[in-house]
Symmetry: C2
Subunit: 117 residues, 2 copies
């Protein structure tokens, strides 16, 4: 068993094109023994966003704090703390922080999503 | 894409032997299209606990609120908001709310963990 605080994991800049003011912490991945799926935390500053993109793996997202929008094929939708988002494989998506404070969220992916990042 | 608040998902009693004052919300599972891993929220009242057990699948846990302990093969450890726990397959474990307020946490499992519950 591994127990640690999320702050003990380094926040790294997301460098993919289209990413702005967004950092990632790889909380649970193959380095601590996970074999099926991985837990990451994203921190998006006000005005920041994830890239508008799609990929062959799904996202399972939980919004921890902050206010923003999620953009998908059917337009955009407001999101805030306690919201849950499931993004199926190959669906275009983007997260934006439209509020005045840090947006923090968990975003989990299957193992296949890390091999191609 | 599916977007909803966790409160929109019913909290069900956990009825496994050894479970006390604990409810589960199946936030993301096969019913909304997840094929690889599932997101659940557990809510444990003060004095409540999950069963002391082990099983062939892992847990990826994030503590949202409340104070408690996680019990494993090496004893018990305090946990609180922002803590991350990885429990490998077949390792014995139990979560207890030792505080005075509700303990709320996310616990994700691979698909294989639901087929045998």
């Amino acid at each position: 068993m591994k127990v640690f605080h999320y702050r003990d994991v380094k926040a790294e800049d997301v460098t993919e094109e289209g990413a702005e003011k967004i950092k990632i912490r790889w909380l649970i991945d193959e380095r601590i023994g996970a074999e099926n799926f991985f837990m990451r935390m994203f921190e998006i500053e006000p005005g920041g966003c994830s890239p508008l993109h799609s990929h062959p793996w799904e996202h399972e997202i939980f919004i921890l704090e902050g206010e923003g929008v999620v953009i998908g094929k059917d337009g955009e939708r407001k999101i805030g703390p306690g919201d849950v988002i499931f993004i199926p494989p190959n669906e275009i998506h983007q997260l934006k922080n439209t509020g005045n404070s840090l947006m923090r969220l968990l975003c989990l992916i299957p193992k296949s999503g890390k091999q191609t990042r």
